[in-house]
Amino acid sequence: MRNLWLIAKADFKNLITNPMWVFYATAFPLLLVMIIGYLTKGAYGNGFSSYDYYGVTLIIYSALSSGMTAANAFMEERIKKPNMRIIYAPGNVKSLFLAKIGASFVFSFLAHIVDFAILSLVFGIEVKGVGQLLVLLGLTELFSVTLGITMCCVIKQESMTNQLQSIIINLLAVLGGVLFSLDGFGGTVRKISMISPVKWIVNAAFQIIYDRDSHLLLPAAGFLAGCIIIMTAVCCFTFRKEDCIC
């Protein structure tokens, strides 16, 4: 348990001192919201601005992309070698990937909370039901970083993991209406859109903020929590210490 804490702390320090990952987790989502919000502001009314829409959807999109941070924190070349030394040390080998999940989650979650706060202050985006939103965002982050680590455990390669992850996340994001709402494309598209769990997360977030209603939160949170448990089990089953041999 002590080693898990020590490894997670070291991983968190590695992430927070890497300018590229700090930019990716904090500045990139802000820029994305600012640019897309600005370009589409004519399509939204005064009561509900483009920033209100993209401030929520693109932060969820960024949270879903946290898996890439996790995959890098786990299997990037310069991290893989010290990982090998961690495996030489006494203790449970599972600490290695659990620490990566923990560190990547805390790093991404904090970064996106800061983003949310900045967007709320600067663009005045509507944020209500903060506690429920944090649960939803937190579970989304945890789902994403666990997905990244699971794919690494299964595929054993960071680059391949990130390529696949990018395809999956972007597909789910487009279907979920994160980049543009699919609601205006008719009933069939709307039904297809509901296949994506991202759509449930986005709808749950808007429901919490604008309707003060959390009845979509439970299924979304339940789905995310279930996936997290299953993926962690897959990690335990597929991670082998010899994968750390460089």
Partner: protein, 326 residues
């Protein structure tokens, strides 16, 4: 419980620190390690030599607890390492061939972090970190990030990270690859220093001169088996039954080489660049006859020396000279 410990102590005295018994490892149909058995004695420097694909790395990875074997046992103080893995790992230091350090952390933080994984904390951790850095000659650069270090300094940091927790057995896998002679020299003298402090060392390398310099005992591996074992001197003695006398002759005299074959024990004569190279059986004392023969007809010897087998000769004779690409 006390009885058990005493029994184990007894085993460790008679059986060495680490004992490998009938170790096997295959990847698919390929047997990488075949019924490998050897022992690492307490306090010795045991060098493991072998060409590429000999199974050295696989063996080392099994001994480090990084890889499971398909069969056989590794005994630490008489106990199977898999039954006391954490206790075994606490006493084990590993210097991998790769630089297993965080490039973005300072030398001090690297050593401190890895040592803390072995349960060290507080003032003990600080003290051991300082000691390891001092030992590696990095005390004056301890606050600098590893990415600012030269290749040799990184190698030394790699060693410091492996020894800070005070291991009893240190496994070093090619620790001097790609570094300058000064750093190599420092590492080799560190290895001897560690031995004098009671650390047992298992050392793999491709550099024969390193093996000749530091080894107490050598194991030569090929195709997953140990094909020779002994001290450097005993391997050289045991493998070659011939020695070579090299006679450097003064210019202008054409010595008849056929005459040497009449001397007892001479097996071959070669003439090259003003030198006569005579291969002779080791156990036949025939030097006087050779000198006499060389000086016959007015030939004058400028220099004479005896060339004995090098470890490289031994290695090549045992493992063959064909290139290994695996």
């Amino acid at each position: 419980m006390d009885m058990k410990i005493k029994e184990d102590e007894g085993i460790k005295c008679s059986e060495g620190l680490l004992r490998v018994e009938m170790l096997n490892k295959s990847y698919g149909d390929k047997h990488v390690v075949n019924d490998l058995s050897f022992q690492v004695n307490r306090g010795e420097i045991l060098c493991l030599l072998g060409p590429n694909g000999a199974g050295k790395s696989t063996t080392i990875n099994i001994l480090c607890g990084l890889l499971d074997s398909d069969g056989g046992r590794v005994l630490w103080n008489g106990r199977d390492i898999w039954t006391c893995l954490n206790a075994y790992k606490k006493n084990l230091g590993v210097v991998p061939q790769e630089l297993a350090i965080y490039e973005d952390l300072s030398a001090e933080k690297n050593v401190s972090f890895f040592a803390s994984l072995y349960g060290l904390k507080g003032s003990e951790l600080k003290e051991k970190t300082e000691e390891a850095l001092e030992f590696a000659g990095l005390s004056d650069r301890k606050k600098d990030k590893a990415c600012t270090f030269s290749g040799g300094m990184k190698r030394r940091l790699n060693i410091a990270c492996a020894i800070a927790h005070g291991p009893k057995l240190l496994i070093m896998d090619e620790p001097t690859v790609g570094i300058d002679p000064q750093s190599r020299n420092h590492i080799l003298s560190s290895v001897r220093n560690m031995q004098s402090k009671g650390i047992t060392i298992l050392y793999t390398t491709h550099y024969m001169e390193e093996v000749e310099e530091i080894s107490d005992r050598i194991l030569i591996m090929d195709s997953g088996n140990i094909i020779a074992e002994g001290t450097c001197a005993s391997l050289k003695e045991g493998i070659f039954d011939e020695r070579q006398f090299v006679l450097e002759m003064e210019e202008g005299h054409n010595t008849d080489t056929d005459g040497f074959f009449r001397i007892e024990g001479v097996r071959g004569v070669d003439k090259k660049d003003g030198q006569i190279i005579i291969s002779s059986l080791k156990n036949v004392e025939n030097l006087e006859g050779i000198i006499e023969m060389a000086q016959r007809d007015g030939g004058r010897i400028k220099n004479l020396f005896c060339r004995t087998a090098t470890l490289e000769n031994v290695f090549l004779k045992l493992t063959g000279k064909s290139l290994r690409d695996s």
